[in-house]
């Protein structure tokens, strides 16, 4: 179902945490730096497992990517006042849980534009507020929640490892094409993910 070509016509299969699969265009996927580092040039043998995120979240994230396929190259976050009606609707449609899931998924997939728009939106909630006012805005996590967060980060690290292994497996299959660059690519991705998840676990 998937192809090593990087054409925007190509569809990739994405697997969610429920085990469901759905199509995403290559053009949309290319907005994910994580995807670019892992699969863009080598393709994927079977569905790409982003199994730490549910179908609804992934579909929401890729809905954004599909929409912004034709936008100009990303050049830093837009001011919230400059967001289009579509963008505003996209954000306003989400409840808080979905919003957080989208940030987490976008962060993992390294989709700069979506991550920074989401984060700019949160920063806006704190704009011009003093400490006491901020305390009212920020829900402070309990000890149990912090522990749970730690477990989630560990789970994410394991998922990332799984994805990297999958990429390595795919790379092995295509070694006759681009043996050395692919291995370097996988190693780079692994290093990147390790760094990312080390920073999570250090929180």
């Amino acid at each position: 179902m998937t192809s090593p070509a990087s054409s925007s016509e190509v569809k990739y299969l994405i697997e969610s945490s429920e085990g469901n699969t759905f199509d995403v265009s290559g053009a949309a996927l290319r907005q994910s730096n994580t995807f670019n580092a892992m699969f863009l040039n080598i393709g994927a043998d079977g569905p790409i497992p982003f199994t730490d995120y549910n179908e609804a979240t992934l579909k929401k994230v890729f809905e954004y990517c599909e929409h912004s396929v034709n936008e100009e190259n990303y050049s830093g976050p837009k001011h919230q006042d400059d967001l289009s009606k579509w963008d505003l609707n996209f954000f306003n449609e989400m409840d808080q849980k979905m919003f957080i899931d989208v940030i987490n998924a976008s962060n993992f997939l390294d989709i700069e534009r979506l991550t920074s728009y989401c984060c700019e939106r949160i920063a806006r909630m704190l704009r011009g507020k003093n400490t006491q006012e901020m305390i009212k805005v920020i829900t402070l996590p309990t000890a149990e929640e912090l522990e749970a967060k730690q477990k989630v980060e560990e789970k994410k690290a394991a998922a990332a490892k799984k994805v990297a292994e999958k990429a390595a497996e795919t790379a092995e299959k295509t070694e006759t094409l681009e043996e050395l660059p692919v291995q370097q690519l996988v190693q780079t991705t692994r290093n990147k993910l390790t760094r990312k998840y080390l920073s999570f676990s250090n929180e």
Partner: protein
């Protein structure tokens, strides 16, 4: 249509987000928001300290009528000032000033003990922005006279050094000698010292920082010949000094033989006339009067350069030339020596 219910009720679990997402949020916040955020909880402070980009901000402390902590970003074009005040009417007031490309945002916070609260906030800011050196310290030494020593002690305990230090006094008649000496003897200044103090004691004993880029003493009557020889800074302004012609003559001879001020690039000797200086000071020093039609780019105040006509050249034994000349800046004639 589902809405972001909790965001509508202004509650959001920011600290539950992954670190990289929190970092993105920080990038969209101004320094005052970052400080306020870091004070919301112990965990928020820990997260704030992890932000590597925080160290790019310049930290400026000021002790004036209002005690200020400024954090400057974007090449000092944006300045966020946290002002501690004992004036209750100013509490929470926000002022924004935009001039040319510079933006200043002042946020005032009332305190019935502004000095102690300022110290606590400084300590917090130094910690979260991972600073051991203050970029700019501005101190009006007669504003909180009874607290000067405790402020200086606070600074020497909490910072290693100050890059740029401005010392002022509001009223000329106030005697700030003792506290000024205490500050300069206990705080390391790295790059620039600008003193507009009116020192009362002609024999003011103080450690003048060495190897500064700029040493500007706007009332330097207490600098005598011996002190002059000890100065070893790149740019030196000694306004209203009491150094005699004979002493300038000796100084220049020592400079020529490389016995003093070897790092000197610019020296302002006060308001003098070139011809008279030539007769009274350079009488036994080899020199060359440069034709007025000759124009050269020479170093002047504040690390700037200017096209200067003529002047008098003297030469050091290593071949370096110093040009003595008069130029006008800020409505006054300045008699200067520029090394090139």
């Amino acid at each position: 249509m589902k809405m972001i219910n909790n965001r509508r009720s202004n509650k959001f679990p920011i600290l539950r987000l992954p670190f990289l997402a929190i970092e993105e949020i920080f990038k969209a916040m101004d320094p005052i928001e970052i400080i306020n955020f870091s004070m919301t909880s112990k965990q928020a402070k820990t997260v704030t300290k992890e932000m590597v980009f925080n160290s790019k901000y310049a930290l400026c402390l000021s002790i004036d009528k209002t005690l200020g902590i400024s954090i400057n970003g974007t090449n000092n074009r944006v300045s966020c000032v946290y002002g501690m005040t004992s004036d209750k009417r100013l509490d929470g007031k926000i002022e924004e000033d935009k001039r040319n490309r510079f933006i200043t945002r002042n946020v005032f916070k009332y305190s019935n003990n502004p000095i102690e609260e300022w110290k606590q906030l400084c300590k917090h800011v130094l910690e979260i922005f991972k600073k051991q050196t203050i970029d700019v310290l501005t101190l009006y030494m007669d504003e909180f006279v009874d607290h000067n020593v405790s402020i200086i002690d606070f600074l020497r305990t909490n910072v290693k050094s100050v890059d740029v230090c401005y010392l002022f006094q509001s009223e000329e008649e106030n005697d700030v000698d003792e506290h000024a000496a205490y500050l300069l003897n206990n705080l390391k200044v790295n790059n620039e010292l600008h003193s507009l103090l009116h020192i009362k004691n002609d024999y003011f004993e103080v450690k003048i920082p060495k190897n500064l880029k700029e040493l500007n003493l706007h009332n330097s009557h207490w600098i005598g010949y011996e002190r002059l020889l000890e100065i070893d800074c790149k740019s030196v302004i000694l306004e209203k000094n009491q150094i005699s012609d004979k002493e300038w003559n000796l100084f220049l001879k020592k400079w020529i033989t490389m016995e003093t001020n070897q790092n000197l690039e610019y020296l302002e000797l006060g308001n003098r006339q070139l011809d008279i200086f030539r007769i009274h000071v350079l009488y036994d020093i080899p020199h060359e009067v440069v034709d007025g039609a000759v124009k050269r780019i020479l170093k002047i105040r504040f690390n700037q350069t200017q096209k200067i006509s003529g002047g008098i050249d003297i030469r050091r034994i290593d071949g370096k030339t110093a040009t003595l000349f008069v130029y006008r800046i800020f409505g006054k004639n300045r008699f200067a020596m520029s090394v090139h």
